[in-house]
Symmetry: C2
Subunit: 245 residues, 2 copies
């Protein structure tokens, strides 16, 4: 993460928290902003491997990622784990816990990170006063539902190559939205974690990446990825079940 995002007027007020998701298309008035600022509360730093919260812990706040990278995972009693997402700056985590006031997944820092805690009660109060904020909160939750549907489609009906291509393109697009290169980036997660997210074994992830490289679709070197042929990657994702590379 080197380059900063261009800050539009509407983003200044909460740029301290990098609340991309909250700030995006919001058209708050000056007065509303001041209220919003009372919300953007405690900031915290996390080291790689630290848990932001654990499954089972009490829900108090949503968290906006300022810098760094997180993963969320649900654990099955028998020890199997499923990575449910990778989150980057500007994204909000903790939405699952609203349902029961108990977190239903773990959130773990994949690198040293800073987050901004958003006490949920405060957020609800404010969103009763600020319809724009209310709408925004709803959109964020709905977006998460849509994202999950996309993952179901991926897990339920794509083969390994498509899953991996979709994964890389998704990261690419999210980096681009943050002002970073869409075609060259560093993976923050292990092959194992990618595999868990995509419903594949780590060996399959590794093999498929190698295969993409042989075919000049990407260039991989450990965690460094370069997307060499986006059009072909895109075609791969929207393809018939057994289309050739």
């Amino acid at each position: 993460m080197q380059k900063a995002v261009s800050i539009t007027p509407t983003q200044i007020a909460c740029s301290s928290c990098n609340l991309r998701e909250f700030c995006l298309p919001a058209d708050f008035t000056e007065a509303e902003f001041r209220q919003l600022e009372t919300l953007t509360g405690i900031k915290r730093a996390y080291r790689r491997g630290d848990y932001l919260y654990r499954s089972g812990s009490k829900f108090e706040s949503l968290y906006a990622i300022r810098t760094g990278f997180f993963k969320t995972q649900v654990l099955h009693e028998d020890g199997r784990e499923q990575v449910t997402g990778f989150q980057m700056p500007g994204e909000i985590i903790g939405l699952d816990a609203i349902s029961t006031d108990i977190h239903t997944c773990d959130a773990v820092a994949l690198e040293d990170s800073e987050i901004c805690e958003l006490p949920f009660n405060r957020l609800e109060e404010l969103s009763r006063i600020l319809p724009t904020l209310q709408r925004h909160l709803h959109k964020i939750m709905s977006r998460e539902i849509v994202r999950d549907q996309g993952i179901m489609l991926l897990l339920g009906s794509m083969r390994a190559e498509e899953r991996l291509a979709a994964f890389l393109l998704n990261l690419s697009q999210r980096f681009a939205a943050r002002g970073y290169s869409p075609s060259a980036f560093r993976l923050r997660m292990t092959r194992q974690e990618i595999g868990s997210y995509l419903g594949l074994k780590l060996e399959t992830v590794s093999r498929t990446l190698s295969y993409f490289q042989e075919n000049r679709l990407i260039e991989v070197s450990n965690k460094s990825i370069e997307l060499l042929d986006m059009p072909r990657l895109l075609r791969l994702v929207g393809q018939q079940p057994n289309a050739p590379l």
Copy 2:
């Protein structure tokens, strides 16, 4: 669907819409109820196969299912489809569309059904006035996110038998919550649709059901299912990857 759900005082006010999800633990005052009732708007009937909404159509309302059964599905450009859920009375559909004001999936009636349309603007207005309703709406959306995480776990790390056992137990539990038998019910969907939902081919669904039957876990006859051995089904779900039946 033959037996009605027992109606608690808090459920009377909106029982006309069977808004189980909204009514569950809500402790509204008399006055609040009257306001809520202004919301529960248009009721509509759908025939089997009818679309409640389609992917791409404009978002106006959430829908509460009063009677009947629906499925939601997302379509991939190449024609592949993924069933993302089966919904029964008292459940709310349409949450995905809040994100962009456009529906991102289709909702199709699996049998003749009645729904109750909840204009979303009205719902947002009301939930600014009624914190209980606001909280409730948030919980419903969050619950959907949690449900989706569960499906990711299922699709990403369970094998066919576990998926199907989890599916049957989930239906069982939801029927039970509505006052119907948890152990004998009729599937409203085809093997094909079950397969799509579980990331399996219809033949695999059929074979696995037959296998369960041979092992006296269930009794299947076309769409009629009877769960004969819930404890064993439960054990099957929470089991090591390759545990024996």
